[in-house]
């Protein structure tokens, strides 16, 4: 058969994109992207009116630092892993649970193309929604005068967010292809293991994605490698595994 992966993956991508936008988890994505914007508006108003100030260890935190904190805590520690878990694990697992995977498996394309197409749809969808959300938070929170010097930081942060979405999504896509209940394990990993591992001594923190999101150029390389490897493993797994659908 000619080109059993790339062209079918593109067609699968088109189908999956619609599924992403209309699926039952779309509300979560909208909330995840919209809530920080709302929060930024509130904070900006509070700062502008002087009705609030943030003090840590006796030092007043400026709005620029607040943006950095928002990216680190809100996006990289919560929104990015949460979207990765919710969407990545659901890409194939939902089709299995809904028993619609049959319609895809009886098409003339490698099963790996289903995985690849769905993953790319996920990536485009979350990046298209989360990155503008983070950028908007930046433009809302940071005063116009200070933007010039902070644009580099914004670009770097957007890159980290994109990489995080790619890595978390790929890892949990792989889990969704391999495990029966991937969501629970995924939530334990990102909200249980990762925060704990960050404060543990030694090398355990290297067994988290969060660590590499803070690790500079090496981190970028590792995250790209993890993403590619996880998607490849998912493609291989779905080719070999049989799925017994519950009636």
């Amino acid at each position: 058969m000619r080109d059993p992966v790339v062209a079918p993956a593109r067609r699968m991508f088109e189908l999956a994109l619609g599924e992403m936008l209309w699926g039952r988890r779309a509300v979560f994505m909208v909330l995840a992207a919209g809530a920080p914007i709302l929060l930024a508006v509130v904070m900006r108003l509070a700062f502008a009116t002087g009705s609030a100030e943030f003090i840590v260890n006796g030092n007043r935190i400026d709005i620029e630092s607040m943006f950095g904190t928002a990216i680190s805590l809100l996006y990289l520690r919560f929104i990015v892993p949460a979207l990765g878990v919710f969407y990545g694990s659901a890409l194939i697992a939902d089709e299995i649970e809904d028993r619609t995977i049959t319609y895809l498996f009886v098409r003339p394309m490698a099963r790996g193309a289903i995985v690849l197409g769905k993953y790319l749809a996920y990536l485009v969808c979350v990046i298209a929604i989360v990155l503008p959300s983070a950028a908007l938070v930046f433009f809302i929170m940071v005063p116009l005068a200070g933007m010039g010097t902070l644009i580099d930081m914004l670009v770097r942060d957007l890159g980290r967010i994109a990489l995080g979405l790619a890595a978390y999504g790929a890892v949990f896509l792989c889990a969704g292809v391999s495990l029966k209940r991937p969501l629970v394990g995924g939530l334990i990993f990102v909200f249980g293991w990762e925060p704990v591992a960050q404060v543990l001594p030694g090398y355990l923190r290297r067994l988290t994605i969060a660590y590499y999101l803070q690790a500079g150029a090496v981190g970028v390389a590792v995250l790209i490698a993890v993403s590619v490897a996880a998607v490849a493993l998912a493609m291989r797994t779905i080719e070999q595994r049989e799925y017994i659908l519950e009636q």
Partner: protein, 305 residues
């Protein structure tokens, strides 16, 4: 042969879904009959490459099916489960699936329209599947199986949930496909449905094939099976007395206004009964029916073996 299996078995853990099934399905329409849990769906899932055999082999069009994606150009499958992308319209869904067959947008649109028209859904093609009735959902499921015009259709309980009129139209549709040169393997646990589509049947029970071939050949298999006949007569006792004078009847019991006899020699028995009725010696014989004369009895008998 379109489909050939050799000592095919499938186990789900310790549970056997298919047990040592060797069968060759010819071109044309083949009915797969059996009660729920007989192994029909397991057989179809293996034949469509969704499940891998635990033992034995299966070939479709002479080639393996598991991991052989090219086979799906020639194969269409209508699964049993009532599962859909509910938010999509019938047309959107079919177009998307047609594109997965490599069709460009224009061809996919035309193919989807043709498939929807075939199953009488063209008028509701732009309604969301989530709002479809059970019968419409069954039909849109059939449409997705034919959207790429396959040579072989595997249909798992396609008539389930359809009203009698749509059931009749779908049976006609399946027969039309057969006449058009397509091969169809269709499953059901209702014999008269299959009987209306084809004479070529495979009977399954407990993961095994208990009989296969032409309906008439299968009937031949039960020649030794006592044939039950229900006779309503003015004087059932007189009828019984005359019948028992010969050696065709093995047992007799009475119901109100009727006698029920069992015979191991149906042909000889019917000749004798006709003679008795014609002579009027035992009074009027008003009605003769034999539950064994329909496929249901054949099926019930065979699966008990």
């Amino acid at each position: 042969m379109i489909i050939a299996t050799d000592r095919l078995s499938k186990w789900y853990g310790h549970v056997s879904g298919l047990n040592d099934v060797t069968v060759a399905l010819p071109e044309g329409i083949t009915g797969l009959l059996g009660p729920n849990g007989a192994g029909k769906s397991t057989f179809m899932k293996i034949v469509t490459g969704q499940l891998r055999p635990s033992a034995g082999s299966v070939r479709v069009f002479g080639e393996p099916i598991w991991g052989n994606a090219a086979q799906y150009h020639r194969l269409g499958f209508c699964p049993e489960q009532d599962a859909f992308y509910e938010h999509m319209t019938g047309r959107e869904w079919l177009e998307a699936l047609a594109r997965l067959h490599g069709m460009d947008n224009a061809t996919a649109t035309a193919s989807a329209g043709r498939a929807l028209e075939t199953v009488d859904l063209i008028d509701v093609a732009d309604r969301k599947i989530g709002g479809f009735s059970k019968g419409m959902r069954q039909r849109v499921k059939l449409a997705q199986a034919i959207v790429h015009d396959p040579a072989l259709l595997i249909l798992d309980e396609p008539l389930s949930g359809m009203d009698p009129i749509m059931r009749r139209r779908t049976i006609r549709l399946i027969k039309d496909w057969g006449r058009a040169g397509k091969s169809v393997v269709v499953s059901s646990h209702i014999l008269h449905e299959i009987e209306a589509m084809t004479a070529n049947i495979v009977l399954m029970h407990n993961g095994r094939i208990v009989a296969e071939g032409d309906v008439h050949q299968i009937r031949g298999l039960i020649d030794e099976h006592p044939h039950r006949v229900w006779i309503r007569a003015d004087d059932p006792h007189a009828v019984a007395r005359h019948l028992l004078a010969g050696d065709e009847v093995s047992s007799v019991r009475f119901e109100e206004g009727a006698v029920v006899v069992e015979t191991p020699k149906p042909d000889a028995f019917y000749s004798r009964l006709t003679r008795i009725a014609a002579s009027g010696e035992a009074g009027a014989i008003e009605e003769v029916t034999s539950p064994d004369d329909n496929l249901q009895a054949v099926f019930t008998y065979l699966v008990k073996q």
